[in-house]
């Protein structure tokens, strides 16, 4: 495990998130300050409802922060509109979800090809096929998500996330919906892909063994960075 020393690829300054709920405005994140260095693997851990997933979504521009600034690759995500954020993700980010979120009407190959097509790659399908081969699903390229097991679906999701060679890979409890064996296989694959492509990996997880594989772990509690826990984990 090596700590990176280059400039931050992602920086959060006093980032906050409040959402309108049924009972009024709910504050999810409170003035988070965080820097992630290029090539680093960062684990986000904390109890349920602590705001881990929300923080990941804010980092990916999937959720618009209510306050503060989020800078990724030198660009201010909080100043971007929805379309600009979509284009930024297309060009620089890959996201893996706990629930896989494959498009049910598309085959595995088409799912993986979609971000490449959106980016305008003429060889989208060839590259997608190669990515599927890399995750061991070359033979299942023509299958629809409903025809794949949970583990296979998550491998397709991984292939889709890394196919455009993102600078930043966001993973939201990627093994949460998988059994132990599948979960381990997916994590091996995730770290392997990260190592091969050199992306910065930010991962939400509950599993201590996964957190242990990260370069750095950040603890969250009630929407705030738990600095004490973070410090303790670092020691």
């Amino acid at each position: 495990m090596t700590m990176q020393t280059t400039a931050p690829i992602l920086r959060l300054q006093e980032a906050s998130l409040s959402l309108n709920g049924n009972t009024g405005v709910v504050d999810i994140l409170h003035q988070i300050d965080l820097e992630v260095t290029a090539g680093e693997t960062l684990g986000l851990i904390g109890p349920s409802g602590s705001g881990k997933s929300s923080l990941l979504m804010v980092m990916g521009g999937l959720e618009q922060a209510s306050g503060g600034t989020i800078t990724a690759l030198g660009q201010d995500l909080t100043a971007m509109n929805e379309d600009a954020l979509a284009r930024f993700r297309r060009d620089h980010m890959g996201v893996v979800f706990q629930s896989f979120h494959l498009i049910p009407t598309m085959t595995a190959l088409e799912n993986v090809a979609t971000p490449l097509e959106l980016a305008g790659h003429a060889d989208a399908f060839e590259r997608a096929q190669a990515e599927l081969e890399a995750v061991g699903l070359g033979a299942r390229a023509g299958h629809f998500p409903a025809q794949l097991s949970g583990g296979e679906q998550q491998r397709v999701a991984l292939a889709r996330a890394v196919a455009p060679r993102p600078d930043i890979l966001l993973a939201d409890e990627p093994t949460g919906n998988l059994d132990e064996a599948n979960g381990r296989a997916i994590m091996d694959l995730l770290f392997d892909l990260r190592d091969r492509h050199g992306a910065t990996l930010i991962m939400v997880t509950h599993a201590p063994e996964l957190a242990a594989r990260c370069d750095r772990v950040v603890h969250l509690r009630d929407g705030r960075l738990d600095l004490a826990a973070t410090q303790k984990a670092a020691e």
């Binding site: 929805e82 979120h101 598309m106």
Partner: protein
């Protein structure tokens, strides 16, 4: 990769999911388009038939028609120079008499050349010439079976027309030029003109029309010869027709009725649009996560919009294509059946303009009703993957989409106006449709609010309370039901109320005010005896009589009448004209002054006040009339209030006596008598004045109301299609609501409700919603009917209750049916599975 081709690739992938969820979408669009395409195809087929068979319908390549007179020598010479053959026909109404029995008939007196084109088919089969020659020294006649049966005549029996005996030789099976005669009262009798010489029926002053059918050389240009005829004889009361449009009256009627029915069909398409919109919304709701994933992967708004726009567009094209196939091929396949019902020829074939019209309407409607849900879909954010982040669900779409909707709407109304040829009718229809939708929407909101508030009043009646609660919600509530069923029921309610009130006015009220009989062709020297016989009869309460001539208004203030008055009915064709010395009793002069009884100066006119206002005529204006081929210019010196609604005597034009008394003419009389005395009066007059024709007012009115009834039923079919579309929309709504009902039923079962009680609640919900939709539709339809009856037909209005109750029952039945079809599954499913799937 270009955004459009990328979006199309995504759309194609999505479409592989099949048509599940789009059945109602396709059905609504296909049905709406099919109805319009079918109406257009039938209209085009009839127009084609009338056009291609123009010469057959007309009975020649061209025709010159005169009122009250035969063509003069100049006219005959003109025709002889241009035609290879000219056939002369005289038409008039008369009484066919057998002993003491009399029946009105429309007589057509023909020469040896008739018919120039086509053949008269008779039963028993024989040449017309042979039939009209008669037998045993008595000239022959042929008549429609309805008339011979009415008079109890067998072939070979003798009957009279005027003073002339005729022998019935055969029944008419087919009269090739029947459609050219237009609207007639009384069945047809065909005789030879020659045989009428001594009947007294074609003497000067009697009411008859002559038609000269011409067989023209092939090189003749109809446009040119028509213009020549108009230039030379137009001012002499001649009316020209030619093979380009053999039956202009029917063509105009078919064209207008077709346009009107297409507008009714458009209301069906609008209802279908509500279903289309709901289907797209429901579909996009299932696509929220897919859209959010695409957003996560970097798809921008335009890619999302285009992806789903292309999908829905492709499905809309499919729906339109299905509609065009059904609506286009249906009438063609059923052509022989439809043609058998029509009294004129029709060429059933696919009509590209009709299909194009239906496709344009379908495309624009689909665009208008799907654009907003599609525009909202692009607002779905990536965050929708993990929480409800669809902020734009209830807000207006972006201004560019509002503008596009407005443009499409304008294009739709503009196309309808262009295709129907009547901007006024289209705009009124569009305004009516928009108004009805607004009223229905408002009523639905009120119904929902009332239901919500009523739940407190029905505590202790759980089934009713659940039903009212459901009606009060936005999803299962009143709006979809009232919108989908309301329009069809409103149109049906309006038609039922208008038709019912018309019938009431004609059937019940009119006979109280209208005369029993019109007598026409009473010669001047017969008038004293006629008056004596009628007025001395104690059963007769009233008699009115007036001299009558017919003439054409050719000029107004020296300008051609058509230029001044356009297509106003007063200047269209020939009109009845009367004269009087002293002001007749009951005449209501509202402006100017009646002339002195012995006035003999330049001709003066007393004109109908309402028509004068419509034509912009004032006292002092002049009119040129062509009466019996002679022109006469007269000045309007008074205006009269004339009431045409009582079917009594009413002349738009009355001239001073000296102006017309010398012209050959006959008298017309109206007689108001007890029904029991009518037969004796007819017998006496038939014996003493055989040339006088009696027209039973009730028969004439029934003939008119028969036509109105046919228009009403054609409109009702259009409205029924709207209702069927509404029912489909309702089925779609019920299907979309089924998962919610399944969950609701599972919860209620968990809480101890029996299936019977849950079913009762579902049924109550449907009944209340259906009755609500029916009541709202009845209110809107009744208001429309009241306005039409009061202001257009100017008859009193009262609610026709059987129709009103049928509308409400129809609403209840439709919602009950749609609701119960989708109630079985929720009732049958076990609660555990439902509740687990929600976790």
């Amino acid at each position: 990769m270009k955004p459009l081709s990328l979006a199309w690739r995504f759309a194609r992938r999505e479409l592989r999911g099949g048509l599940r969820g789009f059945r109602i979408f396709l059905a609504c669009l296909a049905l709406g388009v099919a109805v319009i395409a079918a109406i257009g195809t039938v209209r085009a087929s009839i127009e084609n038939g009338l056009s291609s068979q123009g010469a057959v319908i007309l009975g020649g390549d061209a025709e010159m028609e005169f009122t009250y007179r035969f063509a003069d020598d100049d006219t005959r010479a003109w025709m002889a120079r241009r035609a290879t053959a000219v056939s002369e026909i005289a038409e008039f109404r008369s009484m066919a008499v057998v002993g003491e029995d009399r029946a009105l008939t429309q007589v057509k007196a023909v020469d040896d050349l008739y018919p120039l084109i086509g053949t008269v088919e008779l039963e028993p089969s024989m040449p017309l010439e042979q039939a009209l020659a008669g037998a045993g020294g008595v000239p022959g006649a042929v008549m429609q079976l309805a008339l011979s049966a009415r008079l109890g005549l067998q072939h070979g029996d003798i009957f009279q027309l005027g003073t002339q005996d005729f022998r019935l030789m055969a029944d008419i099976v087919l009269e090739p030029d029947a459609a050219a005669s237009g609207f007639t009262i009384g069945p047809r009798t065909l005789v030879a003109t020659q045989a009428l010489q001594s009947s007294g029926l074609l003497s000067p002053g009697t009411l008859f029309e002559t038609k000269y059918r011409m067989d023209l050389p092939e090189s003749t240009e109809l446009e040119v010869i028509s213009q020549q005829a108009q230039d030379q004889f137009g001012d002499m009361g001649m009316r020209w027709s030619d093979a380009r449009n053999g039956a202009p009256g029917i063509t105009r009627f078919v064209e207008r009725l077709g346009s009107f029915l297409i507008l009714v069909g458009l209301s069906g398409l609008a209802v279908g649009g509500v279903g289309v919109s709901a289907a797209v919304r429901a579909y996009l709701a299932t696509k929220t996560s897919t859209i959010a994933i695409l957003r996560t992967l970097g798809a921008d708004r335009s890619t999302i919009f285009l992806t789903y726009f292309l999908q829905i567009g492709a499905l809309a094209l499919l729906g339109i294509a299905i509609g065009l196939v059904i609506g286009g091929l249906g009438p063609v396949l059923l052509g022989p059946l439809i043609a058998a019902q029509l009294p004129f020829p029709a060429d059933f074939s696919l009509s590209l303009p009709a299909l194009a019209e239906a496709a344009i309407y379908g495309g624009l409607t689909a665009f208008i009703f799907t654009l907003w849900p599609l525009a909202r879909a692009e607002r779905i954010r990536a965050a929708a993957l993990f929480r409800d982040a669809f902020a734009g669900r209830n807000s207006l779409p972006a201004p560019r989409y509002l503008l596009a909707t407005a443009l499409a709407l304008a294009l739709l109304v503009g196309s309808a106006a262009w295709f129907s040829g009547s901007a006024e009718l289209t705009l009124w229809s569009a305004a009516g449709l928009a108004g009805a939708l607004a009223v229905l929407l408002l009523a639905a909101v009120v119904l929902g609010a009332v239901a919500r508030r009523s739940t407190r009043l029905v505590r202790g009646r759980p089934a009713l309370r659940w039903a009212l609660s459901a009606i009060g919600t936005a999803r299962d509530g009143a709006t979809p039901v009232v919108l989908s069923l309301g329009l069809g029921l409103t149109v049906l309610a309006a038609i039922g109320q208008i038709d019912g009130n018309m019938r009431r006015a004609i059937g019940d009220n009119l006979p109280d005010r209208a005369p029993s009989y019109f007598f026409v062709d009473i010669q001047r020297d017969q008038m004293p005896a006629f008056s004596e016989r009628i007025t001395e009869d104690p059963a007769v309460s009233k008699m009115e009589s007036a001299p009558m001539l017919r003439g054409v208004v050719t000029k107004i203030n020296g300008l051609p009448a058509k230029e001044v008055a356009g297509d106003h009915w007063v200047v269209r064709g020939d009109r009845g004209i009367s004269y009087a010395g002293k002001q007749p009793e009951g005449t209501d002069v509202v402006a100017g002054q009646w002339w002195a009884e012995d006035y003999s100066g330049p001709p003066q006119i007393s004109f109908a006040a309402e028509e004068a206002e419509e034509l912009g005529l004032e006292l002092g204006d002049t009119m040129t009339l062509n009466i019996l081929g002679r022109e006469m210019t007269a000045t309007i010196t008074s205006l009269r209030a004339v009431d045409f609604s009582s079917a009594g005597m009413g002349f738009v034009l009355v001239l001073n006596e000296a102006a017309l008394a010398a012209a050959p003419h006959s008298f017309i009389a109206t007689v108001y008598s007890d029904e029991q005395a009518e037969a004796q009066i007819l017998r006496d007059l038939g014996r003493d004045m055989p040339n006088v024709t009696a027209i039973r007012v009730r028969d004439a009115i029934e003939r008119v109301s028969e036509v109105l009834r046919q228009i009403a039923s054609a409109t009702a079919y259009g409205a029924a299609a709207t209702l069927l579309t509404g029912f489909l929309v309702l089925l779609g709504t019920a299907a979309a609501g089924e998962p919610a009902r399944r969950y609701e039923a599972a919860l209620l079962k968990t809480l101890g409700a029996s299936r019977g009680r849950i079913l009762g609640s579902f049924a109550l919900r449907s009944v209340i919603l259906g009755a609500g939709a029916g009541l709202v539709a009845l209110g809107a339809g009744t208001a429309g009917a009241w306005a039409v009856n009061t202001y257009v037909f100017e008859i009193s209005y009262q609610v026709i209750w059987p129709n009103a109750l049928a509308i409400i029952a129809g609403g209840v039945l439709a919602t009950l049916l749609a609701g119960l079809v989708f109630a079985w599954q929720p009732l049958a499913s076990r609660p555990a599975g439902q509740l687990r799937s929600r976790e």
